[in-house]
């Protein structure tokens, strides 16, 4: 695995070099061809993906209807935060759009490292909270449906 690529990801850049090194054993490079289901709603959430190249569609399936894309993630984004929460189940489907290259961080390994080092834990959680907050802001704007009545 090319650790320098891992360190270049925005998520890892938030950490000190020493903290980032501790997460290297948790990571492996993964690649997905186009239209691959990366994870499925309801399945155990055991991984966080750091997207290096490509796009991932987050989909919700509604019975009797086609899937709806609710968000897409891209280079530099973190895919998969459900492992942070007690149910640890994916709440959406994630599907590759085109070829996707990412680092997969094992959640159990990540949690183990975080439990060992409260400073690392705080740094990881701060980044995750920031990512969640940014997505919350986007969802708020999406919910406003601002284009429905013209400009």
């Amino acid at each position: 695995m090319d650790a320098s690529l891992l360190h270049a990801h925005p998520f890892m850049r938030m950490l000190t070099r020493e903290q980032a090194e501790r997460l290297v054993p948790c990571a492996r490079e993964v690649a997905f061809a186009d239209n691959v289901l990366i994870f499925r709603e309801g399945a155990p959430a055991d991984t966080s993906y750091l997207i290096c190249d490509g796009s991932v569609a987050l989909e919700v399936h509604i019975p009797g209807r086609d899937a709806v894309q609710v968000e897409s993630l891209h280079d530099g984004d973190v895919l998969g935060l459900s492992w942070l929460f007690p149910s640890a189940q994916w709440t959406l489907d994630a599907r590759s759009v085109g070829r996707v290259r990412a680092f997969a961080l094992r959640a159990d390994c990540l949690l183990e490292q975080m439990n060992k080092d409260p400073v690392l834990e705080a740094a990881v959680l701060a980044h995750m909270v920031q990512a969640l907050y940014q997505r919350l802001q986007r969802v708020r704007l999406q919910r406003l449906d601002v284009y429905s009545k013209g400009v």
């Binding site: 796009s55 086609d66 899937a67 709806v68 609710v70 897409s72 280079d75 999406q142 601002v146 400009v151």
Partner: protein
Amino acid sequence: MLPTPMRVARVRRETADTVSLLIDAAERPMAFRPGQFNMLYAFAVGDIPISMSGDPERTTEIVHTIKAVGAVTEALCDLRRGGWVGVRGPYGKSWPVDEVKGKDVILVAGGVGLAPLRSAIYHILAHRADYGRLAILVGARTPGDLLFHRELERWNRRDDVTVLVTVDRAGADWRGRVGVVPAVLAEISVDPARTVAFICGPEVMMRFTIREAARRGLTNDKLYLAMERNMKCAVGFCGHCQYGPAFVCKDGPIFRFDQLVSRFWLREI
């Protein structure tokens, strides 16, 4: 102040609820600057300000892109080839395409807000060497609501233009971005020292975009907004579009953000 009756030369349906009216101005060429608007009068219904969405170099065919959202816009959207429309204008301040020569330009459009920016896009592309990098960021409700999608594809094929499109929601068959347009601004590289942004869309979308622009290091004097208020006379007499000390019709609709930031966040005006 009297509208001039002009013929509709062509009608181009852009989406289910949006059309472009191409008005024949061969006998009365109309020079305009990117971002300016005309008052369009649907006879017996009323008039409404609509920005020019066509090429400023083409003064004999004036294009307006209109979304049917009310009585006047519905009447305008119902016009057919050969129909008559009253035209008064052009009015208002334009996008500062001369002032920003040499700069990287980011255009951020939400919904039908792409229409007033399209004339700026034509201008920049016609004088491409005068500008740095050009990024066109477009947000729409769904893929079916995207305006000018063929042109967006054509511009995206150019080496000297970045086009990023996002929609608020889409089916699984959509292969583009899903999310809001301010998030797309977070994706592109920005050199704050040499970048300006033109922003046009619903005001709430512009607020979110301004916050993202600030995160990217763009100061208020680098942002230009197209403001919308209830414009009636279009020449600053009637006061309908008063916005603090300014009239949107006369002093705008394009404002540099540092010149209106003190009242932009006020809810009372």
